[in-house]
């Protein structure tokens, strides 16, 4: 905001609204947006139609008669193999997996990132490097030995076993996220607290935690969507009655027996995608920040 800047008009020359450039630019973006939105639209439309209408019409036409029956059926009576109590079972399983996993993984990773950023000790860098490179190891390499370890402690197929697995595999990215954030907290603040006699936990709870709420929100978004969308760990480390929503959804839609009810399938798919979608649309920029932090620095 210097005076010189105010003398001359700034920025590029204004262009007419309907220039060739604008038509091309917005036209392309609109077409692309339609393409990206199409599957969501098809899911919604299909889930609101009755089966006769689906057989007659095409997948893009809006429902003539809106019915919520597929949603009710998907939620409460769709069948997976033996039991027919719908996706609600998977939903509550996912919640029971999600809540402790998110709390535990963030608690451990934030303390860990804090220890790495502010209480450096010998060997810390080595383990941290292993942790970060470990994030690139395909899960398939580690899943079986973890089955053995969990079986040894009696947690295989137990929900808590899955919580531990999520905590372990969330650790690299979360630790990185917190470590990078905590290193930006001014060193003087930390030193002043030390002089005042605050210890490891005192500084963590009274200074670091209150100062870094945004990064906690980013971490929560990252973990909730990641754990909710997980399929592999769910199918490996739980038994059928504990299957998370994604696994149950796949079993409902891809089951070979019975007549395919596409409207119920799409309602079920939409229900499963609802939690991350809501988080995405509500959190907006923070979501982007989360995945960018996860991706660029990873």
């Amino acid at each position: 905001m210097t005076d010189a800047a105010l003398d001359a008009p700034r920025g590029p020359k204004p262009r007419p609204a309907l220039s060739r450039r604008n038509v091309f630019l917005y036209g392309t973006l609109l077409v692309v947006s339609v393409y990206y939105l199409l599957p969501l639209y098809v899911m919604i439309v299909t889930s609101l139609k009755g089966m006769p209408e689906i057989r007659l019409g095409n997948i893009f036409s809006p429902p003539v008669e809106v019915t919520f029956e597929p949603w009710v059926k998907a939620w409460s009576s769709a069948c997976t193999g033996l039991n027919c109590d719908g996706l609600s079972r998977g939903f509550w399983n996912s919640v029971r997996i999600l809540v402790p996993s998110v709390v535990m993984s963030i608690a451990i990773a934030s303390v860990n990132g804090y220890a790495l950023a502010n209480w450096r000790f010998r060997g810390a860098d080595l383990f941290f490097t292993i942790l970060i490179f470990g994030a690139f190891i395909p899960y398939q390499v580690m899943i079986y030995p973890i089955v053995i370890l969990l079986r040894e402690v009696g947690l295989y197929t137990d929900l808590f076993g899955l919580v531990i697995v999520h905590t372990i595999f969330g650790m690299p990215i979360l630790t990185l996220l917190f470590r990078n954030y905590f290193t930006t907290v001014p060193e003087d603040l930390f030193k002043a607290a030390r002089v005042d006699g605050a210890g490891f936990w005192g500084i963590y709870f009274r200074i670091m935690l209150p100062m870094s709420l945004p990064i906690f929100v980013v971490a929560i978004i990252l973990q909730v969507t990641g754990i909710w969308n997980d399929f592999l760990f769910g199918v490996v480390y739980t038994k059928p009655e504990n299957y998370p929503m994604t696994v149950q959804l796949n079993n409902i839609v891809n089951s070979v027996q019975g007549v395919k009810e596409y409207n119920v399938n799409m309602a079920a798919t939409l229900l499963t995608g609802l939690v991350p979608l809501v988080i995405y649309f509500v959190s907006g920029k923070l979501f982007v920040r989360g995945i960018a932090a996860g991706a660029v620095k990873g």
Binding site: P12, L25, Y26, L29, V32, S33, Y36, L37, P39, N58, I59, N112, W119, F121, A124, I130, L131, F133, G134, I137, P138, Y139, Q140, V141, M142, Y144, I146, I148, L149, T167, I168, M171, T175, G199, F200, W201, G202, N229, F231, L232, V236, T246, L249, N250, V253, Y262, N265, M266, T272, G273, P276, L277, Y280, F281, F287, V288, I291, A292, A295, V296
Partner: protein, 309 residues
Amino acid sequence: MAEVTAVSSASSARTKGRPNPLTRNLTAKIAAIPMVLTASVIFVGCTIWTVVYSFTSTRSIPRLKFVGFDQYERLWSTNRWLISIENLAIYGILSAIFSLVIGFVLAALLDQKIRFENTFRTILLYPFALSFIVTGLVWQWILNPDFGIQKVVRDLGWEGFVFNPLNNAETVIYGVLIAGLWQGTGLIMCLMLAGMRGIDEDIWNAARIDGIPKWKTYVFVIIPMMRAVFITTLVLIASGIIKVYDLVVAQTSGGPGIASEVPAKYVYDFMFGRTNLGQGFAASTMMLLSVLIVLIPWAYLEFGGKRRD
């Protein structure tokens, strides 16, 4: 309880004067135990375990009866594995090229100081919030020959129109690719956009003064300047591609026949479906090897020069 340990370690350090190196930062060390365990037991320990057992004749119960490279020989003579590798190669190469190109072009479009940038970005990125299971199931429905795009176009008058990638062994992997790109390009676009925003405005001014057309500036100036972003994105795409599993499970279940199998599914099926663990270990070790081939050169480029910063 945690507070108590902190206080006691702090006070013990104070009374001793010069703390001995082991108990120095003791609480921090205790707090790092989960990391140490994860890094050493899971990431190093379990990986080595699997690699070691891939050289044994293990079937349903892990036994240390070494048979050399037998499992690998069997793996590479199994038709299903060869198809998996071929699929992964097609899917991987095309997905890397398309996501980089589409991601870059979309980012460049969004970078034109346009209106509604946030709206467009929100629309392009939302599929990334959805799981591969949801993605696979939606696209399975859209590509359904009896109800989906093929039928819609036929109803419009083109009776002979054929667009049925998922039920044809030759094309099924491209059907999976369509779904994968829909889900993932938004993320690549975001990373590219972040990279473009990091470029100095002066570069653009200089290019404008020299009268260089915009597209030329992008191709010859911006892309070379974004080398680091491209490489990081590529590593990200590559490490994601090797893990491709849920998408295939949901969209095609590996079918028709075994035409859309991928290595990660091979591993899972042999470990948990057929209890032929040795094959699963060998296949997962091959996956690890392919990650290392991508990762080591990248780590060397990225960190090699500035190891001690």
